[in-house]
């Protein structure tokens, strides 16, 4: 009897510990996504490493943004819920022409600084140097373009149009959302954006700078815009795809 008891006890203990570990692991990835505000203490001690959106003060880590807390092992990160776009080389973005100057265009891409598109990047042939830039893109035109270079302090952003998908966009509606919410808008392998596209029968182009271009029949476009705004507003909640499907389904 005694032998059996002693044998059983450690087994149950191990099982309990295993379960607990599982709970903790899933807990980190899900329930830890709480909202933090600037200055909030999010980790204590030198065991953790501060990543994006956080800073170390003494031995502790504080948030410096309003955002969602993410802990991956020892690394502590805050995903911002607001803010302007931080330009990165290689991003495909949607911008609006602010100004035509002699050597190209000044373009607003929702970043802290205006971006520049050189005339040579946009014009088809090198030899036609006397073409007036204004004939290609006019003020207020919306273009899909790519960032080819960003200076060290983000203050000068150069754009390029090399590539089939980069072009002037048809009339449509621009929706601007925080760039950090773009992954949610697209969803896993495009599930969310495809839901909206299919349900509203519109063409939606998403720029990595948080600018979304929606075109199609005006009525459908407005419906899609409403859905995108809802996704932006509720991006940090769970079960969103289902609710968006329901919302678009009801109004069909």
């Amino acid at each position: 009897m005694k032998k059996n008891e002693t044998k059983k006890k450690p087994q149950t203990k191990k099982e309990v510990i295993k379960k607990e570990v599982k709970i903790v692991r899933t807990g980190v990835s899900r329930t830890e996504r709480r909202i933090v505000v600037p200055g909030e203490k999010i980790a204590e001690g030198m065991d953790f490493l501060p990543s994006h959106g956080t800073y170390r003060l003494g031995e502790n880590i504080h948030s410096k943004l309003i955002g969602l807390l993410d802990t991956q092992g020892r690394v502590v990160k805050v995903t911002p819920l607001a803010g302007v776009y931080k330009p990165m080389r290689g991003d495909s973005v949607i911008g609006q022409i602010n100004n035509c100057v002699g050597t190209g265009w000044v373009i607003n891409i929702n970043a802290a600084h205006e971006a520049f598109l050189k005339d040579k990047e946009a014009m088809p042939s090198y030899s036609d140097t006397r073409i007036d830039p204004a004939k290609f893109y006019k003020e207020h035109d919306v273009i899909h373009t790519k960032i080819i270079n960003v200076s060290n302090n983000d203050s000068s952003i150069h754009l390029g149009m090399r590539g089939r998908e980069f072009r002037k966009l048809d009339p449509g509606v621009l929706v601007i959302i925080p760039p950090t919410k773009i992954p949610r808008l697209i969803g896993k392998q495009g599930s969310m954006i495809n839901t909206v596209k299919d349900a509203t029968n519109t063409r939606i182009l998403v720029g990595q700078n948080g600018v979304v271009h929606v075109s199609g029949e005006p009525e459908n476009v407005m419906k899609a815009v409403r859905a995108i705004k809802k996704i932006d507003k509720y991006a940090h909640t769970r079960g969103l795809t289902g609710r968006i499907e329901k919302m678009l389904g009801d109004k069909k």
Binding site: V37, H113, E114
Partner: protein
């Protein structure tokens, strides 16, 4: 007891709401007693005029104004000497909190308007502006909290009202106390780094007394900070 039946270290009824101006990147409304401030933030973005930009950090442009109807005798529209001075003090109050190095050569535009004034307008403006900056996603070491502490007669009080500033009296055992002299010390505090970023003094106090007043003020700022944090979190949780 004070005119409004508050305790010495009690704040006026305080409310805060985030996201009141949809066009702005971030905005907030902050009310302490009868003083109300509204604040909107745009940026970081292109700075005009460019010559005031700094190559290693963002420049905060503060615009503080008291609206005509905010005081009993109509204020002349537009910022006056006092408003310009307070704009500068607000800018300095945010200097240790906002991490400006992340957006070099840009400008952050911060607008604060006083809708109704009953003393402590600069403090309420800072509280509103702090929430607006946070909502705009601008990196900060902490929210800046602010409140005025002071001395009425022999008593140290928190969050002085206009009436107390002017008359300098309080009531105890059904009798009037105080010499008709009030001292008022607005304080702004950054809780995370434990820095005092605004300290002004209007009146007469000894060194020892000032230390006590500042201590009381910091205690008040911490209370304000709790209200600010709650307002910010409520904005995102309400949407659920």
């Amino acid at each position: 007891m004070r005119f409004d039946e508050r305790k010495e270290d009690e704040l006026r009824p305080t409310t805060a709401k985030v996201g009141v101006i949809k066009n702005a990147f971030g905005s907030a409304r902050f009310q302490m007693g009868k003083t109300i401030a509204i604040s909107g933030v745009y940026g970081p973005g292109e700075l005009h005029p460019r010559r005031i930009s700094q190559s290693d950090r963002a420049v905060i442009k503060v615009y503080y104004d008291m609206l005509s109807f905010s005081v009993p005798d109509r204020a002349r529209p537009g910022p006056d000497r006092r408003d310009h001075e307070i704009s500068l003090k607000i800018k300095e109050a945010f200097a240790p909190a906002v991490i400006r190095e992340e957006f070099p050569k840009t400008g952050i535009y911060l607008y604060t308007y006083i809708l109704q004034a009953d003393a402590g307008t600069r403090c309420v403006a800072i509280n509103a502006a702090s929430l607006a900056l946070a909502q705009a996603g601008i990196p900060m070491r902490d929210l800046v909290s602010s409140v005025a502490a002071g001395k009425i007669g022999e008593k140290f009080v928190l969050d002085v009202t206009k009436k107390e500033e002017d008359y300098g009296h309080f009531v105890e055992n059904n009798k009037w106390y105080g010499k008709g002299a009030a001292t008022d010390v607005p304080i702004a505090y950054v809780p995370a780094t434990k820095e005092v970023s605004l300290l002004q003094l209007d009146g007469e106090v000894s060194e020892e007394e000032l230390k006590k007043i500042v201590k009381l003020g910091i205690k008040g700022c911490k209370k304000v900070h709790e209200i600010q944090v709650k307002a910010l979190k409520d904005y995102y949780n309400e949407e659920n």
